[in-house]
């Protein structure tokens, strides 16, 4: 059975009430969503929040899923939208007023202790921490494009469709993000 067929079989079984099928379906994708959450949200506890919200959304809408798109595409679209929601909510709760696009969503204002939770950070490789730190310098819109392009290997056409922007805007954002990441790397080298 192909991955797609297997997903669909699990969905049908889950809709029929099989907890085993549901668990299997979640297990297939939780790791990708969690790692995506780490890169987008910047810390394990928010990544867990995202993971839970994504699968709750999937669960609540599973009956609406039609086989005309891949389950994984549908899932990652939900994850994309939930990441935006969650970032907005966090910003609201942190009392950071929304600025002009560009600087609005950076994670720099996060309290430092949230990024260093002891038990979970043990599993963090130093490399991942560095990547997270670098990504956190980007505004959310750019971070999302990097995530979709580099980590999810999506085409600009797909990214444009998901974010409801033009393909050109997607390209420009990606290029701007890479430039900014490059700049951050250089700053790090100067400091160290």
């Amino acid at each position: 059975m192909s991955v797609i067929d297997e997903d669909e079989a699990l969905i049908v079984a889950a809709l029929a009430g099989s907890p085993h099928a549901w668990e299997k379906l979640v297990k297939r994708y939780e790791c990708r969503i969690f790692n995506q959450g780490l890169r987008l949200m910047g810390n394990p506890s928010d990544a867990m929040d995202l993971l839970q919200e994504v699968f709750l959304g999937v669960y609540r809408n599973l009956h609406r899923f039609r086989g005309d798109a891949k389950f994984s595409s549908w899932l990652f679209r939900i994850a994309h939208n939930k990441a935006i929601d969650l970032s907005r909510r966090k910003r609201l709760l942190a009392g950071t007023p929304p600025n002009a696009e560009g600087e609005a969503d950076s994670l720099e204002s996060l309290p430092a202790d949230r990024q260093q939770e002891p038990e979970i950070s043990l599993m963090h490789s130093e490399l991942n921490q560095r990547i997270i730190k670098r990504l956190s310098q980007l505004p959310l819109a750019q971070r999302l494009v990097v995530e979709l392009k580099v980590f999810q290997s999506m085409t600009f056409e797909e990214i444009a469709d998901m974010q409801d922007i033009s393909e050109n805007t997607a390209k420009t954002r990606f290029y701007a993000a890479l430039k900014k990441l490059k700049q951050t790397t250089e700053d790090e080298h100067v400091l160290s």
Partner: protein, 225 residues
């Protein structure tokens, strides 16, 4: 010295649909422009660094299984104080039914006068207990709402305090927004609960009314015997 073509060319380089011709032109330019070459190198290096990400394991979580099982169970188990409490009116109705029937049969066996039995006095008694019962239910419903509201408020206050301590930069505006958010949540919760209970109470009053009719029917039938 900076090359005016860098931005445009590199943006195109990372697009998915670089035509063979554009690719050849790009290569040609790169061969002679150190600026663009250096920029491309660092960008590729940056992307490569991102790709050195190591997949991390997901911490233990329940995968929504509890919710799944709860919602798919044939008879969902009652949880929480509200779910336990909601059976009380039904139990009370049942007790009332027993009382009414018992009351009637005792009267029948004790009384030789079929016509007197089930008379106005007794029905007034039944009506009075029914009214008391209804009043009790209403009072309990109101106290339930008050308890629920109090619980919500204390939850929100605690959460708000936690948020404030964490951010320590509580502008009046952000406070307003947080408050509005919780107020909205609270009202929605409350509405849900009221609706749920009202339905329960309605069905219960319907039970009561049919009980009342049943009691009257029983005494009528017995009196006609």
């Amino acid at each position: 010295m900076s090359c005016p073509k860098t931005a445009y060319l590199l943006q195109e380089y990372f697009s998915d649909s670089l035509s063979a011709q554009a690719g050849a032109e790009f290569d040609k330019h790169l061969a002679q422009c150190r600026e663009c070459r250096a920029e491309l190198d660092t960008l590729l290096h940056t992307r490569q660094e991102l790709l050195s990400w190591q997949e991390q394991r997901v911490p233990h979580w329940d995968r929504g299984l509890e919710l799944f099982k709860r919602e798919h169970a044939a008879t969902p188990p009652a949880t929480g104080w509200f779910a336990r409490w909601q059976w009380a009116p039904t139990a009370a109705s049942f007790a009332m039914l027993c009382l009414l029937l018992l009351n009637t049969s005792v009267s029948v066996s004790d009384s030789g006068f079929a016509i007197v039995f089930g008379g106005a006095a007794e029905r007034a008694e039944i009506d009075r207990s029914l009214a008391t019962f209804e009043a009790q239910q209403l009072a309990e419903f109101e106290s339930l709402i008050r308890r629920f509201e109090a619980r919500q408020d204390s939850n929100n206050v605690q959460f708000l305090q936690a948020v404030m301590e964490q951010t320590q930069q509580s502008t009046a505006e952000s406070l307003d927004r947080i408050y509005a958010y919780f107020e909205e949540q609270r009202l929605r919760d409350l509405q849900d609960m009221q609706l749920g209970y009202q339905q329960l109470a309605d069905s219960d009053y319907a039970t009561l009314r049919s009980l009342q009719e049943l009691a009257q029917f029983v005494s009528y039938r017995d009196s006609a015997r």
